[in-house]
Each structure stands twice: as C-alpha cells, then as structure tokens.
C-alpha cells in the first residue's frame, strides 16, 4: 500500500506528539525539580535562576522521550570549578546521591531519574548574548530564539524531522553519530519552511548549504560565503555569528540524509521513522557464513563512562587499526564501532580476506626517478621478494610475500607495538590488553546484546528497511 506524504505526516504526528497526560507528567516532574532546586539555592546563591531548557522548553520533544534539561544559571562571579561542584553537591542533597549519575561534557553535570524522567541538571552563567563563558551559556538564548520564532506548526515540523533523522540514524551531534542536533533540526525547519521543504532541500543538496537563520550576516553575505566555503553545511548560530551549528555533521550522515530524503519524497512511508532491525543471532551467523564474509571483531571492555570520550577514542583506535591493517596489506572494506557505552566496545571490520595466501604487488618509483636504483637494490634479494623488481606501465614494481599470514597476527602485532599505542591513555591501554578477537561468523558471539545484533544486521543491510515494501 502506498501513502501520500500528508497521510504519512499525519500518522507520524499522531504518534510523536506528546498527549495531555504525558505533557502533564513532564510538567509536574520538572516543576518539582525546579522548585526544589530554587528552594535549596536560596541559601547558596540567591541570584541563581533555575530554568527548564531543551526540547521540553521549546516544545519540540517527542512522545515517549524521557530526557529533559534543567539549567541552573549562576552569576559570573562564580569560578567554573566551584559552580560545578556546588551544583553537584546540591543536587545530591536534594534528590539523594543514589538517584544521581555524574556526567561530563565541557564541565560536570548530573542526571537525576525522577518518576521515569531522566533530568539533566546543568550549570551555566548568566551572561549577555554573545559574551559566553561556557558552552552551555548559549542554550538559554537558543530556547528563546525557538520560542520566539517557531509557531506551533513549525514545532511539529521539527518533531517530524527529528524523528525522521532518528529513524535513519543521523540524529545527534555527538561523536558517536556526527549527525544533526535538535537545535539544528529546529533551525533547518525554521529556515527552509518545514519538514517537507527540508527533505526537498536535502534531496537535491550539493555542498555547501549555507543558512543564516538569525540574519546575522545581512549585508555581509560575502563574508558569510567565505567563512562557510570549506563546510558541507553551514548553519550560523542565530545567537553566535562565529558558530556553525552544523559543524559536527559528517559527510556520511549528510549523504545518508540525502538519500533517505530522496526516498521519502519518492515513496512516503512511516517506516523511515520506525526502522526495524531484528534478525536473531542464528540468522546473522547464517548470513555471514553463507556469504563467506570476512568479518572480524575486536571486543574491548569500556574504559570510561563518559560517552563522548569513549566514542572519540574508539573511533581513533578504529581508524588507527584500519591504517595498520592496510599497511600490512589487508584491505579493509568496512570498519565500524559499536558500544553499549557501559561494558563493551566492539570494533568491527569487513576485510577482503582474513588470511593471506599468495603474493602482494608492491609499487616502486616511476621510470626515470632517481629512486629506481635504491628500490631495485632493496628488493633484489630481500627475504620477502617473490619476484624481483620489474618495470610495467610507467613504474617499477616488485612482488612480495605478504607481511603477515592472518589478521589476528596483525592485530597482535599492533597491540604489542609501542609506536602503534602511542597517545592512548593508561585506561585505554589496559582495556586493549583485555581485548578479544572474533573471526567470521563468530563475530555474533563478540558480546551478548540485542543492540549489537541490530548493529551487525545494519552493517550488512544498512538501508534495506528503507526500501522494504510496506
């Protein structure tokens, strides 16, 4: 059955707009948090405000979302360290430290779980627009901008786009996803005119896309284009002309968003908003086996509980391993990271082969380069040489024995090389020393987690759900 875009939008909106009960519950919880904190702060710092922020304050949150933000805004006389510590102590006192979880972005904050809602309680400074002292100081101005500029309908359009990006896997600016933040979604909808208009813009997108929703560069368009020249997408923060709200969006996320937008417009469907990946362990094992896929997984115990640090280091490790594999003549066809952000990190690779059996072509200098003699002498009687240097198509070449027999050998070599491990913290090194490797269909055993199985399925069938018939 095929639906029109309007029908799909209506159906999704029906599902994602919080209903009255949900709204009331959220309001009650947050009012309670705010009043308790206000009460406590009377004694600590009477000038501090306690504010509801984020998608609840902007009324762009989705039904079922259980995350909310409360900001405590301090006068600028407070030192950053004292502000964080004072807030944390206060929250623990008020809500009981057993309900608190310490988090860390630029400075520390606390998550409190109350009646099914996870409230992030975050410190910031009271400053004038543009005079920001910490990354969170902008947030209150962002909230103000959205509240002032976005109509009720526009907020629903933002909900749609947010859910769409979540569905296709590109929602969130953190390192894990390198996709679209909530505020970016709101700005796109505001600048481009709505959900459908954003999809249209994305589906025909050629970089760079430059938007200035706050009109901060009015009359200075040339300066804006110069500034945005090297970006794929540049959306100027309406409260900070030097900040690109879309800076974190990777080309990969943007390309996925483009293709999904194209498909959604071509054949609208609710499935884009509700993707399904649900093969069983045995099914995935069967797929890997029957396709003869050379998959390879390295499991490493999580070495920190701060997600952005974990993902950042995991991606760095992934890319370093991929380079090392390529240097050791193993061709990497795909490399991905998965983590539950608590116990395990899995680095997953698909390789052309996991075991080398034959010869490797090694490129030398072009004809008439002064390096030809050195190249020939190096490989003439080298112990790896299978075929001595010879000229072909403008260059010299040699054929060598592969550097390593199989991929586990390469990984072991990497993990015992000081050079390779340079720059990783003690925590990461310790975790690496406890790593395990899984090869072929056994990658399904790397961790026991349904999220991991979905991740594996998504590696092999990244977008099949998008094209599946309803």
């Amino acid at each position: 059955m095929s639906y029109g875009l309007q029908e799909v939008i209506q159906e999704v909106l029906r599902r994602i707009k919080p209903n009255v009960e949900e709204r009331n519950h959220m309001d009650n919880v947050l009012s309670k948090v705010v009043s308790k904190l206000q009460e406590e702060f009377k004694n600590i710092e009477p000038e501090a405000d306690v504010l509801i922020e984020g998608s609840v304050a902007k009324d762009t949150w989705l039904s079922g979302e259980t995350d909310a933000d409360v900001f405590v805004r301090f006068p600028v006389k407070w030192k950053k360290d004292d502000m964080g510590r004072t807030l944390i102590d206060c929250v623990k006192r008020v809500f009981g430290s057993e309900n608190c979880r310490l988090r860390f972005a630029e400075h520390p904050y606390v998550t409190v779980r109350i009646e099914g809602i996870n409230v992030d309680i975050v410190p910031c400074y009271r400053v004038n627009r543009g005079e920001y002292r910490s990354a969170t100081d902008r947030t209150v101005f962002h909230t103000e901008f959205v509240r002032e500029k976005l109509s009720q309908e526009m907020r629903d359009e933002a909900r749609l786009l947010k859910k769409f990006f979540k569905g296709i896997g590109v929602y969130g600016a953190e390192i894990k996803t390198r996709g679209f933040s909530g505020f970016l979604v709101e700005l796109l909808v505001y600048s481009l005119g709505g959900f459908k208009e954003t999809l249209e813009k994305l589906s025909s997108f050629k970089p760079p896309l430059i938007l200035d929703p706050g009109d901060l560069y009015k009359g200075r368009e040339e300066e804006l284009y110069r500034r945005a020249r090297d970006s794929l997408i540049c959306v100027i923060d309406p409260v900070d002309e030097l900040r690109n709200v879309a800076a974190a969006v990777s080309g990969e996320s943007l390309s996925i968003a483009q293709y999904a937008s194209y498909l959604m417009l071509k054949k609208p469907s609710v499935k884009f908003f509700y993707p399904t990946h649900k093969a069983s362990k045995e099914e995935i094992r069967g797929i890997v086996r029957s396709r003869g896929l050379n998959m390879f997984a390295i499991t490493i115990p999580a070495w920190t509980d701060i997600p952005d640090i974990l993902w950042g280091q995991a991606y760095r490790l992934l890319s370093r391993i991929s380079i090392f594999l390529e240097e050791n003549e193993f061709r990497v066809l795909m490399d991905k990271v998965w983590s539950d952000e608590e116990k395990n990190v899995v680095l997953l690779f698909i390789l052309e082969e996991v075991e080398k059996r034959a010869a490797v072509l090694h490129m030398g200098p072009p004809y008439f380069s002064s390096n030809v003699p050195i190249f020939i002498e190096t490989y003439l009687n080298n112990e790896r040489t299978l075929v001595q240097p010879f000229p072909r198509n403008g260059r010299w070449w040699t054929i060598l024995k592969p550097k390593a027999k199989d991929v586990s050998e390469v990984i072991s070599k990497a993990f015992s090389s000081k050079e390779f491990l340079k720059g990783f913290s003690e925590n990461v090194l310790k975790a690496i020393s406890e790593s395990k490797m899984y090869c072929g269909e056994d990658v399904v055993e790397a961790v026991d987690n349904t999220g991991y199985l979905s991740f594996l399925e998504k590696c092999i069938h990244p977008f099949s759900w998008m094209l599946r018939e309803d």
Copy 2:
C-alpha cells in the same frame, strides 16, 4: 674481482670485433650474392643496383652475427608489387627456392641462407634524399651517413653499445622488444661521443632526450623542441627531419637501459654483455611452488610466420586479457608474452590470486552525486550483493560476491565472448580455439623449449644477473 671500465671495454671488444677470417668469410659470401644478383638483373632491369647494407656495410657488426643485408635498388618507374614479386622470383631462381624464406615488413623480402650467413635480400627505390617512396629507401642514406661520420673507433663504440643493449634485453626496434635499433645505437654514439658517454647520458636521463645528429634543425631549435615535446627520447633521422629514429623505444626499455647504465658505470663488468639465465625446468617449478606464485599461462599455436604481426597481435591479446581479468576482479601483477616465432605463443600472467574465495569491494559514486540512488537501488537486492551499499570516506560502496570463481573460468568466458574476440583475424581466432591453460608450477610445462625456461626465469629474476657478484 672488480674491473675498471677500460678493462671491461677492452675485454668485450676483443670478443665482439669480427676477426680477419670472419670478415673475409662475410665479404666472400656477400660478394658472391651481389655478383650473382647483378648478373641476373642485367636482363631484368639493367638500371637496378645491388648494394651491401646494414651493419656489415657500416662495419658495426658483431663477431658471431650471421645476419646481413643486401638491397636491390630499383628505378622509381617500378610498381611496388611488381618490384617485390620480381625480386622474389629472381632470388629463388638464383639461389634455389629451397634456400629461400619469404619475409614481410612493409613489403616482401627474402632471406637466403648461404654458408652459415642469413642474407636478407630487400627491394628499395633509387630516390633523392628526402623523397622516399618506401620505408627501406632511407637505408642507403643511413649507411652513407655512418660511413662518412663515424671513425673506426666510433664504430667499435657502437659495437659495444649494441652488445650492451643486447645483453640487457633492449636491443631491437621491432614490436617484440620496443627497444633500440642498430641505427639508433650508431646515432647515440655519434651524437653523445661514445659508449661511456651514452651510458652517462642514459643513467642520468630525464625525459625528453632530444638529439639532432644531422643538424637538420640548426637555427630551428624551438621547432625541434615543440616536435619532440611528447617523446621520451627523440633522435632526428639525419636523412629525414620528420622521422624520430627512437620512436619505437618504450618507456620500459628506456628505464631498463637507464638502470643498467647506472649499474655498469658504478661497477663495470662483462656480465652486462653476456647475461646468464639457465635454471632447469625442475628448479623453476620449485621456485614457483615454494614462493606460492600465482602464475598462469595460456599457450596458443603460432598463427603467422611474420614475427612483427605475431608479436603485435600477441601483445594486443595480452593487454585485452589483462583488462578482462581486472574487470573480473583478478588483479594482474605481471603480464608477458613469449614466442619462439614458429610454433607457440605463451601469454604469461602473475596474479594476486587464481581463485577467489571472499568478497570484493565495489566502488560507487561520491556523496551528493545524483547517481547515488541508482547505485543503491542497483546493488540493494542484486544477486551478487553480500553487503548492501554504505557510505565511507566520501563515496558509496558495496561488497559483492566475486564475478568468477577462478581464473580459468574468466579466460573461458573471454574466449567464448564475441565482444572480447572482436577485431582479431580468423587465423588468431582459430589459434585461440586451440589454446591451453596452465596454472601455478605447471606453467613450466606450457611448451618444451629452453628459451621459454629462460623467459620464465627472467620473469621472476629479471635483473639478478646484473647484480650477481662475478
């Protein structure tokens, strides 16, 4: 033991300069041929000259060489076809058709074997310098140029360079070698000042090398540089300003000449002039087996007795097969042709693998290309798809099942494809239909010929003899 360059040159000259007996024998044979032909032509065409040409006439031939050239120069009133036919008939009558072998370059000629000497008897026209009607008309002017300009010492230097190029495998302008012709050798020695000077020039060579031994472009140097701009090496024919005597020299031959010149100057040795390749069949079989080299040979019965045509078509077939193998995801590390020019042609390949077992990475369009949807839809449910399209490092990719299981399958596919065989003559097609394939160490069985074994050894150890200690 290490020799100085002068010692090596003396030793080689001692071996390559024809001695008095050899000269006398050559002179006797050629005088006999000339006088018999002159006698015969008195009746056919009294205006025809019979001339000794080539390296014997120029006194640049090597001891042991048994090839010589005699030209019959016709007045221009003769038609090309008549001239050839008349000459052939005449030679057969004079020397007996059982001693004649028909050859073919631009027009037909005849080889006669007399007292151990193979005399090529070639027709040409008597024309003024520059007014050439056939490719061979220039030859008498070339002979004149060398006789006039090169001293006795220079002719010895030319002998050295010719022997050196023979030794390192780059002597001969024919398609088989794409190297240095005898006349080019003489011009290099004349222009650069000698054997050593030519080695020095070659060893530090950066293209293009431009020489004008006849000073034909004196005062028009800019025109010369413009003309030679796209050549690696341009040596203007002193009897034809539009002809580059070095046009046939391939980059490969030139690069080999460069490296060998460098080595020879660094550590002079007679071995450059007398290369040795002499492994036995069992030794080569052992090398291929122990190194795990994925060698693959196709034997095809020789389809013509005209060497240049045979080599030209064999190279065309070789390159078409290499492209076809790459299209079918088999990486070609080396491809070479061998032929005895009589019975067999062997196309030899070294491949990364002869049998595919796993997956193949297939490149799609870059992010934001309008071809992304087509690419994704093509490979989403393709029967070859192992991993559905995914974005990585700026492009879309997919992982596919290999097109063919092993290399024999690919070759069979090629040889039964009309598209692949298009443009080859009936002779070649018939020969291809009788081809045979040999894999791995069995390539040593492809033909029973010691020249073929040397060729195989040279494929694996192309220049080891150059660097072997004396």
